[in-house]
């Protein structure tokens, strides 16, 4: 499998992806082989079903949202370059290099987009409630979840519109080490 994947990935493509995302060629090849192994239909792109075939992801409470985040608006397939551009957000931040896709703001933007299902750049009470439903599960009463959601919005909301905008979201997390929390050590 490893040999086949490196055959399929041309050098100029690697260079281009490296330029765009900051991954090393080794990491790109490694991720490409993962990409092809997820690609059951051998068509060079992944569908939602391809992702959800990963057993752990299927039981992840946020599985659907995570998969959704890989697809551009309206698209139902993702190619390797798009796949890599999403993953690049999770590269650890290096102080010495310039960080385009993996800056703190981009990491936060990614998380925010997962909340914001209708793309209006605001997280409403219902959007937050939907996420809480997924994470907390069924054993908890609806009223309690609603009051948790309301309290969360009240805490972050500064302009009184009962929603969390991206700026308010960043403000609420300013003491969180997002750089650490949303980074993965990619294997070489």
């Amino acid at each position: 499998m490893g040999n086949r994947s490196s055959l399929l990935l041309r050098d100029e493509e690697i260079a281009q992806i490296q330029e765009e995302t900051g991954f090393t060629p080794n990491q790109i090849e490694r991720l490409y082989s993962r990409f092809t192994s997820l690609d059951r239909g051998d068509c060079g792109t992944l569908s939602r079903e391809d992702f959800l075939r990963i057993p752990e992801l299927a039981i992840n409470p946020l599985g659907d949202r995570i998969v959704h985040a890989f697809f551009e608006d309206g698209a139902d397939r993702v190619n390797f370059r798009q796949f890599m551009q999403v993953l690049a957000r999770f590269r650890p931040i290096k102080k010495t290099k310039d960080n385009k896709l993996n800056s703190r703001e981009q990491k936060l933007r990614f998380a925010f987009k997962m909340y914001d299902l209708d793309n209006d750049d605001k997280v409403s009470r219902d959007e937050l409630l939907a996420i809480l439903h997924m994470m907390v599960g069924a054993n908890i009463s609806e009223e309690q979840l609603t009051s948790i959601a309301e309290r969360t919005i009240m805490e972050a909301d500064q302009n009184g519109d009962q929603m969390i905008s991206f700026e308010e979201f960043c403000k609420a997390l300013e003491r969180t080490d997002v750089e650490q929390k949303m980074s993965i050590r990619f294997l070489n």
Binding site: L31, R34, S37, L38, F51, I54, E56, L57, I59, N60, P61, L62, G63, I66, L87, F90, P92, A111, M114, Y115, L128, I131, L132, M135, V136, G137, A138, N139, I140, Q144, S147, I148, R151, T152, E155, A156, F169, A172, L173, R175, T176, V178, Q180, K181, M182, S183, I184, R185, F186, L187
Partner: protein, 519 residues
Amino acid sequence: TTTRPPIRRYTIASVEFERVETPFLIGLWIFCASLAKIGFHMAPSLSKMFPESCLLIAVGVAIGILLFLTDKLHVSPLTPDTFFLYMLPPIILDAGYFMPNRLFFDHLGTILWYAVVGTIFNTLTIGASLWAVGQTGLFGCDTPLLDMFLFSALISAVDPVAVLAVFEEIHVNEILYIVVFGESLLNDAVTVVLYHMFESYTEMGPSNILATDLLAGFASFFVVALGGTVIGIIWGFATGLVTRFTHQVRVIEPIFIFVMAYLCYLNAEIFHLSGIMAITFCGITMKNYVEANISHKSHTTVKYAMKMLSSSSETVIFMFLGVATVNKNHDWNTWFVILTIFFCSVFRSIGVIVLTALVNPFRLYKLDRVEKFVMSYGGLRGAVAFALVLLINPTHVKLQPMFVTTTIAVIYFTVFFQGITIKPLVKILNVKRAEKRKPTMNERIHERFMDHTMAGIEDILGHHGNHHVRDKFKRFDNKFIRPYLLRDYKGAEPKILETFSKLTMKDAMELMKRNASNV
């Protein structure tokens, strides 16, 4: 006829000290230590300059000199048994129970790496170097290799009590703190094994050691470490299970936590396993389940009782170290003392540099130069080393008195010199400082959200890191453990609910306060 004993008249008052001597003296010691502690806080300039542990040792020395001059009774209150059985467990339980679990397990690999490999490295290098110098005749006494290794085994372990005492005050960033502190807790397994191993080797005599004995030593490490951990986890679960049924008798809830943790420690010590590791993991395990079961008031009691017990033991330990310094049996050997301190510092730094270079490629957060420096500088030695050196049998190891003196010297050097200078150094080097606070609702939810996201990304990558493992454990916990150990099982995200109820409680309290002042 029998002669009747002379009639003793009824006395109005009498003195009988012997009957209460032991508990009275214990009470007096604790009283003195606590008084000393109040004293330091009333002199802010003093406690700003010196860590509390230094001041306590100083007070101990003063008391020791007083006792020595009055020649009253030859007190050596710090015996190995009182230390290991009564004074150490509260401190370690406190450390384990209030351990930031998340942080600890995220860095467990690094912590174990330093604790296991680092301690073995230090023991072997310090022992070998002292022996090599001894061959030149510099020490003016015979220095058998095995005796040197026995000594280096006890001197090379970083002490959890001293590290806690000093690091609590300086507030370095949490990763640095957990690495140094975790190392000091987990290296106990290595220390126990190396100590017992070299102890029995010295008894056997060097000529009788077979290769199987070395292999047995290696195997016993796994038994001691894993055995201690398993015992701790079992007792931790048992405590969770017991507290499930205490809702009718709320007043005894705290006692279960203390007694069962203590039994766990003793249980591990019975088998010569690592008691420190057992009680650490017992604390870590039980907290998850106990906190959900016991009442709010019991929880407050547990928290304050534990803090009180650990801080008073810590106080007493440092004071006793001071008192124990003053005695007649010292055997001062200048070169041996100087070289031990020198080797301890040098090999600690070399070990940290080499081990960090090896571990950094596997870490998301790289340990930088400043942190390496604080880690090697924060390797404080303390009462564990002292208690272990007292345990050496002088009939087998002729150098024991010299070892005792040297151990005290090393402890003084690390606690005084390193302890006093570390605070300004942390400031000069600009080490990132910690800020402790309760999470807000947003932080709690969004951080959990990020965890799930990262676990999902790891699964997409097919790369099984921390998030993946944690996710697996959480799922297992929620399905098979929590429903059985918790009385009131509330679904998958207890932390979110906990934060919510804490915050609403706080709001309510503030509201009440405000209204009360209005009336």
